[in-house]
């Protein structure tokens, strides 16, 4: 059913949908951030997977072996940046959650909405 070469892509899709579901379905602001992280990580995995070349080795030139197959290093390098972006986003999101907790005393989306409407 699933071709062995596509195994990783299926995992990416599953992870991606899990992440999106958590972001949308959970009312807890921290859980939402976790969902967001899952979603981002799935894309990072997708990039890393596409850089893999079958039988490829680390992309460092092997002297005297012109036929060596190398993996594509570019997607990996790109993902270093994406990971940094993810860390920054998570940090900022969590700092917002801390401030929301200070102001409202709760981090449940429903409670916050109720407090705003109740004013």
């Amino acid at each position: 059913m699933i071709e062995p070469g596509l195994y990783n892509y299926w995992l990416c899709v599953i992870l991606m949908m899990t992440g999106l579901y958590v972001v949308m379905a959970k009312g807890n602001l921290v859980k939402k951030v976790i969902g967001l992280n899952l979603f981002q990580v799935s894309v990072i995995m997708l990039y890393v997977t596409m850089g893999k070349v079958e039988g490829g080795t680390a992309p460092i030139v092997v002297e005297g072996a012109p036929d060596t197959i190398y993996s594509n290093p570019l997607p990996h390098v790109l993902m270093l940046t994406a990971i940094v972006v993810g860390v920054a986003t998570t940090a900022l999101a969590l700092s917002f959650v801390v401030r929301i907790h200070e102001d409202y005393g709760t981090i449940e989306e429903g409670d916050i909405a109720a407090m705003e409407e109740g004013r």
Binding site: P75, V85, T89, L92, I100
Partner: protein, 533 residues
């Protein structure tokens, strides 16, 4: 691809220069090098456009004093404006279809990162840096009432980072670079919004962060799929190779991911949920800045991907993007305008009106003919002017009345005539009354709709303008014909009033002298519809 990689490549380049000079030629080479360095400043303007604000941002943090940080930010902002005007002049001097290509660190384009400036993004750069400069002039006075003075330096740092990101998205010719700059601008925008006075500001910023990150990640996903198919990230290279690949499923999914991701940042109708809250609860000057730049740059990204990367045959003939975007644009025009009519807070009303105006711009894109696209791009410019002007007027009200709620504006037309006069001028332009800038863009949109043979669409544009009359009139009625509250009200501070008037007189000027806006926009539209950049 990343900023780090860019910096690294710059250092590598510098290293190569040093390595090159052998012992016997050292002195000679050094002299040549110095001479080269001396002339090269003007060649490196595209890099400076990004590097200046990027380096100034941490300097603002080090300076600490609000005055000093503001002075630096103002200087850098004005410098960036001067650079982008110079670049626009150079691009237009190259004639139709001309572009400046700048290779970061001297690496050749398909491998290295290219900054590519053509008529389209030179135009958007001028908007971003211009609005940033004008709003920056109004910032200190307005911010005093919203943020403790000892935290102002952080505001200026975030502001400069946001401008760097927006200018970077615009200037770069590399798809992954767009994502990186998008995240830089978004992260700083979230921080700016959270600096608002009420606790709602933080929840709005959080909501925007969640949606914005989903949008950014979808864009990343789309770019990754394009890379899978073509093996390149350079936009010019991408478009050439995609034309050869044709419409297979991966390309289709890539287009879907990119359009969905960018539409979130653009606040296209069903994905606009973050915008009204963010604009309402952000500090007044942040709203004036973001409303005029962030969504506009997102529109630019959408235009760039649809026309330059995918190209009209792929995006419209094979994948029928117009069938998706046209209904959404019309829904935005009517739906958001209707919601705007029922808002109790004028700032929020203007935010909803922004969602509607984005509908007009997307309509221009979906028409995919020269007049329509020209209309969309001209509206990008005109709407930036009027919305940031109007939000600066809101900053005046917030400062003097302590509120922007409609009921608090009763009689304000008599108490603050100059400020409210500016509002009326902006409102007329928003409606699209002849002789204002709003009329010019709607004129081209209507022409585009007629050229496409869709006259009901032309009627829809005119009808939805009537909704704008309704929501602007509500404010005018309350402000002029209601009994004013008693008590003396001081005139709005000149440092906010003058920038607001500059922007709104600008809408009047560009309503009468259309050669700059329409000339540049139609050149850009021809370039986009002509295929590869």
């Amino acid at each position: 691809m990343s900023l780090f990689a860019q910096l690294a490549s710059l250092t590598v380049q510098a290293g190569n220069g040093a390595h090159h000079s052998d012992a016997q030629h050292a002195a000679q080479h050094a002299a040549q090098h110095a001479a080269q360095q001396a002339v090269n400043w003007s060649e490196h303007l595209p890099a400076l456009q990004i590097a200046l604000p990027l380096l100034a941002a941490p300097l603002c943090v080090l300076l600490r004093r609000a005055r000093l940080a503001w002075g630096l930010a103002m200087l850098v902002s004005a410098g960036a404006l001067a650079i982008s005007l110079t670049l626009l002049g150079r691009v237009l001097a190259l004639g139709e279809g001309g572009a400046i290509s700048y290779h970061l660190g001297g690496w050749q384009p398909p491998w290295g990162i290219e900054y590519r400036i053509d008529a389209l993004n030179a135009f958007v750069l001028v908007i971003v840096t211009g609005i940033s400069t004008v709003v920056m002039a109004a910032t200190p006075r307005s911010l005093e009432s919203e943020l403790p003075r000892e935290r102002h330096y952080l505001y200026y740092a975030a502001y400069l980072l946001c401008m760097t990101g927006l200018a970077g998205i615009t200037i770069t010719g590399d798809a992954f670079n767009i994502f990186v700059f998008l995240e830089i601008s978004s992260l700083s925008a979230y921080a700016l919004i959270s600096m608002g006075r009420t606790r709602r500001a933080v929840t709005s910023a959080y909501q925007y962060l969640v949606m914005g990150t989903i949008g950014g990640t979808f864009l990343l996903l789309g770019i990754g799929l394009l890379y899978m198919v073509t093996g390149t990230l350079n936009i010019a290279d991408l478009s050439e190779r995609l034309a050869l690949v044709g419409a297979n499923r991966t390309v289709l999914v890539a287009l879907a991911c990119i359009v969905a991701g960018v539409s979130i940042k653009l606040a296209l109708f069903p994905l606009h949920v973050w915008l009204p809250n963010a604009y309402t609860y952000a500090p007044a000057v942040v709203t004036a800045f973001l409303a005029a730049t962030a969504t506009k740059v997102a529109y630019y990204v959408l235009v760039r991907f649809v026309f330059s990367v995918f190209g009209t045959p792929l995006a419209f003939d094979e994948l029928h993007l117009d069938a998706l975007l046209l209904p959404l644009a019309i829904l935005a025009m009517f739906g958001a305008s209707l919601v705007a009519i029922y808002q109790a807070d004028v700032k929020r009303m203007l935010a909803w009106s922004s969602v509607a105006q984005i509908g007009y711009m997307v309509l221009g894109l979906a028409l995919a003919n020269e007049s329509g696209l020209t209309g969309g791009l001209v509206h990008l410019f005109n709407h930036a002017l009027m919305k940031s002007g109007l939000f600066l007027v809101m900053a005046c009200f917030a400062l003097r009345l302590g509120s922007t709620r409609l009921e608090d504006l009763a009689g304000v037309g008599h108490r603050m005539p100059l400020t409210f006069g500016a509002f009326v001028l902006g409102g007329l332009s928003l409606i699209g009354v002849p002789m204002t800038a709003g009329f010019v863009s709607k004129w081209y949109l209507v022409r585009g709709a007629l050229e496409a043979g869709m006259w009901p669409l032309a009627a829809a544009i005119l009808l939805s303008s009537l909704l704008a009359v309704a929501y602007i009139w509500r404010v005018v009625e309350v402000a002029w014909f209601r009994e004013p509250a008693t008590g003396d009200l001081r005139r709005a501070p000149l440092s906010i009033l003058v920038p607001a008037w500059i922007l709104l007189l600008g809408t009047l000027y560009f309503g009468l002298h259309t050669s700059f806006t329409v000339g540049t926009a139609s050149a850009a539209a021809r370039l986009l519809l002509g295929g590869t950049p």
